[in-house]
């Protein structure tokens, strides 16, 4: 079976934080301890939603050294594919669920002399675990957290109270904005910047830092892409000898799995590279949406990341 190893958990706490965000606590069904993790790690939550198995990654926000439970915070996305709606509407206290071992694609670079965190909205969650990790390590950090308004500012009060000198909150509705250029300019040599939030914010931070001479190795971001719907298409899986129809609202990876073909994956969000698949033949155009392949690889058409990318055209043959 692909993906990280699985853990059977039960839901032991459901805490609505505000209109959009709810927190879930998981404990092991067998009462044992959960693995420790490192700040920035996520878990893939399996949801049995009618006939569909949904696998969505969520950042672990609890203390990485706390082994009795994990917590995640889920923002409801009414326009999404249904994973967050399932969590908000279907999951009840005491439910048993399957989650994956923690996987970290957004870890702290511990060579850094200082960590500069930039969060937008629900992008705060990985930083909550990283901040707890740095508390133990006595690391130097600073958080700049942009929220729509006070009511939707998940964990802002708690952070401001516990870390008044490190935490800086910005409310869009009060026309407060991060002075990014000034902020980046003033950082001591050896600072690493981490950004998690909407795509526009990630691009803004990465591009500004790069233009100001920040080394690429000092810029870290995490953006889980959700697979986007697209035109249905057919794919032939040569190694398995199967032809699979990919529907409008499912991803290529999900369609492959539906047909019982075991395909590798980890993040399911175009970031980790685990599901990279070789294209044997194609006639048509790729819709590459991942963060993994380089622009050259995308143009070459020899590889595809089936978790988020699609295909439009006559025929596609994969080595799977």
């Amino acid at each position: 079976m692909s993906g990280a190893e699985k853990i059977q958990v039960k839901v032991t706490e459901i805490t609505p934080l505000n209109e959009l965000v709810t927190r879930f606590r998981f404990e092991r069904v067998d009462g044992g301890q959960l693995p420790t993790f490192s700040g920035g790690a996520h878990t893939v939550v399996e949801m049995q939603d009618g006939g569909i198995t949904r696998l969505n990654p969520y950042s672990l926000m609890s203390d990485p050294f706390e082994q009795s439970s994990y917590t995640i915070s889920v923002r409801r996305d009414d326009q999404g594919r249904g994973g967050s709606l399932f969590m908000h509407r279907q999951v009840k206290l005491g439910d048993e669920m399957t989650i994956s071992y923690p996987v970290n694609l957004f870890s702290l670079d511990l060579r850094a002399r200082k960590h500069l965190f930039l969060a937008g909205g629900i992008g705060i969650t990985p930083f909550l675990a990283q901040i707890k990790q740095l508390d133990v390590l006595h690391g130097q950090w600073e958080l700049h957290y942009a929220c729509r308004n006070q009511a939707l500012a998940s964990y802002a009060d708690e952070l401001a109270e516990r870390h008044p000198h490190e935490t800086h909150i910005y409310y869009d509705d009060q026309k407060q904005a991060i002075d990014l250029k000034g902020l980046l300019n003033g950082q001591p040599l050896g600072t690493h910047v981490y950004v998690c939030g909407p795509k526009g914010m990630i691009d803004w931070v990465c591009n500004t830092a790069q233009a100001q001479g920040w080394p690429a190795d000092c810029i870290h971001y995490e953006e889980f892409l959700a697979p986007q719907p697209g035109k249905p298409f057919e794919v032939h899986l040569k190694a398995s000898g199967k032809t699979v129809y990919v529907g409008e609202h499912e991803s290529l990876l999900e369609a492959i799995e539906r047909e019982g073909v075991d395909a590798p994956y980890l993040c399911r969000g175009g970031a980790c590279g685990q599901c990279e698949t070789v294209v044997l033949d194609h006639e048509g155009n790729f819709v590459h949406r991942d963060h993994w392949l380089t622009d050259e690889e995308k143009a070459a058409g020899k590889k595809i990341m089936p978790c988020v990318s699609r295909f439009e055209g006559k025929s596609l043959v994969l080595d799977r």
């Binding site: 060579r111 980046l184 001591p188 040599l189 600072t191 100001q212 001479g213 920040w214 690429a216």
Partner: protein, 198 residues
């Protein structure tokens, strides 16, 4: 000509680059001897307006040419050791956006790179260009002493006196190549020293 094409070698051997302008708020250029030529090659008035040049002549005389570039700051020091307190102070006070350029011997570049890494700059972000002497900074794997400016192979360790074979095995932490006793099995059987690249 101050450039030298190093023969291809094992993965441990550092591969030096060619300096190029990279955008940044401040620029620190450390040039040793003929390394000054690499600085002259990429200097533009805009770049120099934000550049601090640290020049270690070691018998060369590029000071006037470098001064003529009118960098924001210019320092000339008699040796790397003499320049080190300044290098450390500059790095300690620097902000992100600083670009670091190192050019000269392998020994100087390796040591200065360690200083930049010590303040948290990833080694991938530090630019280098080899110029001038191909002499190596060698660490004796037996006594751990460092012998600077080794031009021949084998050579005598300046600390313990063993005859050492010059390896391409490099330590980033020590900024030195490793020297291993050449006559370990047959004491006294020491080959005639010749230039490292002969």
């Amino acid at each position: 000509m101050s450039k030298f094409e190093f023969p291809k070698s094992i993965a441990s051997r550092p591969v030096w680059g060619t300096l190029e302008f990279r955008s940044g708020e401040h620029h620190l250029m450390i040039a040793e001897a003929e390394g000054a030529e690499a600085v002259l090659d990429i200097a533009t008035p805009d770049l120099m307006a934000k550049t601090h040049i640290i020049y270690i002549p070691r018998g060369t005389d590029y000071a006037d040419k470098l001064r003529a570039l009118t960098p924001a700051q210019f320092y000339e020091g008699p040796s790397y050791g003499a320049a080190l307190p300044r290098i450390r102070r500059v790095l300690e006070d620097a902000h992100m956006g600083l670009q670091v350029y190192l050019t000269g011997t392998e020994g100087m570049m390796g040591q200065a790179m360690n200083e930049a890494m010590a303040v948290g700059l990833p080694h991938t972000a530090i630019q280098t260009e080899h110029r001038g002497s191909t002499a190596r900074r060698m660490q004796c794997v037996h006594c751990k002493g460092i012998t600077e400016d080794v031009e021949v192979d084998p050579f005598v360790c300046s600390h313990c006196g063993l005859n050492l074979f010059v390896r391409d095995h490099y330590s980033r932490r020590h900024a030195a190549y490793q020297g291993v006793r050449v006559d370990a099995e047959d004491h006294g059987n020491v080959p005639e020293p010749k230039g490292i690249y002969e």
